[in-house]
Amino acid sequence: MPDTLAHPVRFGSNAGQPVTRRDGIAKVTGTATFTADNSPENLLHAVYVPATIARGRVTHLDVAAAEAHPGVTMVMTPGNRPALQGDPSAKPTMFSFRIEVLQDDSVRYAGQPIALVLGETLEAATEGARLLNPRYAAEPARTRIDDDEAAPVEPGGFGRPAGVEHGDVAAGHAAATKAIDVTYETSAQYHNAMETHAVVAQWEGDKLSLDVPSQALLMSCAGYAYFFGIPAENVTIRAPYLGGGFGSKAIPTGPQVLAILAAKETGRPVKLMLTRQQMFGPVGHRGATRQRLRLGIDDGAALTVIDHEGLAATSSFDDFVEPAANASQGLYAAGALRSAHRAVRLDVGTPGPMRAPGEASGSAALECAMDEMAEAAGIDPLEFRLRNYAETEPGTGKPYSSKALRECYMQGAERFGWSGRPLLPRQMKDENGLLTGWGMGTALFPCPMFAADARATLRSDGSALVETSAIDMGQGAWTALAQIAADSLGLPLDMVEFRAGHSSLPDGGVAGGSGHTATAGGALHAAGGDVIRQLGEIAAADPESPLHGAGNAAFSARDGRLYVDGDDSRSDSFADILARAGSAELVGNGSASRAPEDAEKFSMHSHGAVFAEVKVDPDLCQVRVTRMVGAFAAGRIINPKLAESQLLGGMIWGISFALHEEAKHDPRTGRIVNADFAGYHVPVNADVTGLEVLTVHEDDPYVNALGIKGVGEIGIVGSVGAIANAIWHATGHRIRRFPIRIEDLLTA
């Protein structure tokens, strides 16, 4: 038996079920309240002016014209901005970026806020912002990755990844009988959650109430508190629903801080909602990369070396270097491994974590390189991956806490029909003459845990209230976490009231890294267990209870009753136990984080295999993804319906990465020329057809008490490479730049 479990986990009647979303009715009736849906009395609307140059200074703003516009109540510029208590360049919490809050007249990237206008109506504030008509002293913008400007990354925590080296890399290169040396490029991508960043701020004395979408409520409270010189407990955040996050909503941003400052200055509530165009600037993005991969194999097609160098764009004033090269280090059994990161400073907003940061970009390059290596070896890409299957973690030799990747390969390939695939490219055409190709990629994602607390309260009627400041940004926390909590208490789901999304609740931690269900769920599981433990003690000590004297015997809870383990004839109902004890309620607390000794001992990862079919018009070179099968092993799945939705969404992000997403800069001004949904393409409904997800069961006794690994990000990981490899298989062309444009294929 595993040594991490104090009590064996019962697979309850709730977890594992495809329960429909508990917030479903609120979301389909329009009553789910997102940040900008709040309109307190006496509200002012804030609109900020984004810079239209990427480097230089603002030399003039027509403040008088804006102030003269009816309904405009205030124009905030660097000249009159009230003081902040915190330093905009400081990093008050673990995940922080330097922010732009009108601290001076400099412009560091296009889209940076250069003034804020307040109005009695949104229309007045919008028009006031238009009337400011800024003038600039512009300097040439740097928006292209240039090798010559690259500098090594000084490793140091968030955003500054260390490289990895295992084994003798020079020997690995020397031992190769076949080798490839290829460079892949990925483009800047912007999260573009459907809900743009927003805030509704209200001050009462030195107490601040915020409606703000946040992937980390308590950390955000601390972040905002820092800028205003107040204790973190003076900040309250309500965020019951997030209209998507994808990594962009964990951290306070400059525009939000400015709106809070405006509320403080005016003594009135202020609402700010970014426009879609403003989402391309101060709220993070996935930085562009250029990745060189050198792979070698011996005569048996065993990898002798994976040597991966990543070059990533970051901003001129802060560090977030996409840890792309590290994505290749945990996957294949190579004789030697090396990763290294360099950065180029550009006149862009600071990049940040975006769904599968590092893994998405790194895997795109790695999986394509693996395909190229398989081609050089003359063997099937799946067979090549199986020959290099890692039974223990490459480099470290650590055992995996669990790894059902082989089953993912087999089940995915079977479902897709991979076995009929011709080895050579350009062999398949469909009935309409479209070139058809099949490709695959492996998916790997770590399963981190953060720290979270939770509280469970059993009420005298046998129902329960469970609480944690968890975040639902679409992944289904309202549902999956409630399922976990219900099982921990031995109650049917409808007997459990779940409160989340508010900073006054026990700290639910961070919704990120695909670790929220494991972490917040672990805390809820522990809190429920604490209630049951106390309940058992009360019952065992109660002469009137059928459980009296059960002493050290373990209890189990189900359907609102406590049973002696292994003796169903002895049980007592929760309500009766509490009633006899004269208790109106019983409160349990729980917390969760990873046991350090397990983290040390095991490599913990989710795995998957993605198979894709594309069809390419031989003349126009239009590419359509016509079929994808993704098979994923991610530990225990709490809600298969919701997990499938997340994995499908991730795979569609893979389509988007491979074929659509790219922010393009005007080289002259540095502005992004496609900063809206017309120009910055993400897939629409008609682009999505024939997708299928399989989940491969894994019992993982080490990853955490619940055996959960997380499914939020892994869907994108193998998908990008699978599509690119399918395009090669259809056309014979290796396009080493993402997104793959039709013109690249035409001129290939």
């Binding site: 389909v28 009736t29 309240t33």
Partner: protein, 165 residues
């Protein structure tokens, strides 16, 4: 300047004084009439999050100046259910998991209601995908959305047959 218009919103007539002709239907609903169920995703007609039904047709409320609508019938997400009874499209979206974060959902659902009323897609998934392509979902719940529209179309057709019989 001041304009006065009359709208019937979710069945209830409303006389509305507009002090500003620049007010879009979307901002009117959200900021002045306390109907924030309709969502702003791009404010340019590029994402469909703000879709409502005006005089029986789906439109982007972000592109529709309120002043142009004097006398119009407007249905928003808040007006779709009958009391506690959900509209078949709403039910199908829940059952088929046709959303994740839920932000684009009011627009998706109103667009689906419009699509079904247009009567051209039937339950053909290709036609549904095309007809729903004016509504972007960044969570990419498209698979569930398509299934939900198919399901609701069938259910509504059956209900209609039942009524006729």
């Amino acid at each position: 300047m001041s304009l006065s218009i009359r709208l019937t919103i979710n069945g209830a007539p409303r006389d509305i004084a507009l002090e500003d002709a620049r007010v879009t239907l979307l901002d009117l609903l959200r900021e002045r009439l306390a109907l924030p169920g309709t969502k702003k995703g791009c404010d340019r007609g590029q994402c469909g999050a703000c879709t409502v039904i005006v005089n029986g047709k789906r439109v982007n409320s972000c592109l529709t100046l309120a002043a142009t609508l004097d006398g119009a019938q407007v249905t928003t997400i808040e007006g779709l259910a009958t009391g506690d009874r959900l509209h078949p499209v709403q039910e199908a979206f829940i059952e088929q998991d046709g959303f994740q974060c839920g932000y684009c959902t009011p627009g998706q659902i109103m667009s689906a209601v419009g699509l079904i009323a247009e009567g051209r897609a039937g339950d053909d998934p290709e036609r549904i995908r095309e007809g729903m392509s004016g509504n972007i979902c960044r969570c990419a719940a498209y698979h569930g959305i398509t299934l939900a529209v198919q399901e609701a179309t069938r259910r509504m057709a059956e209900a209609e047959k039942g009524d006729a019989a």
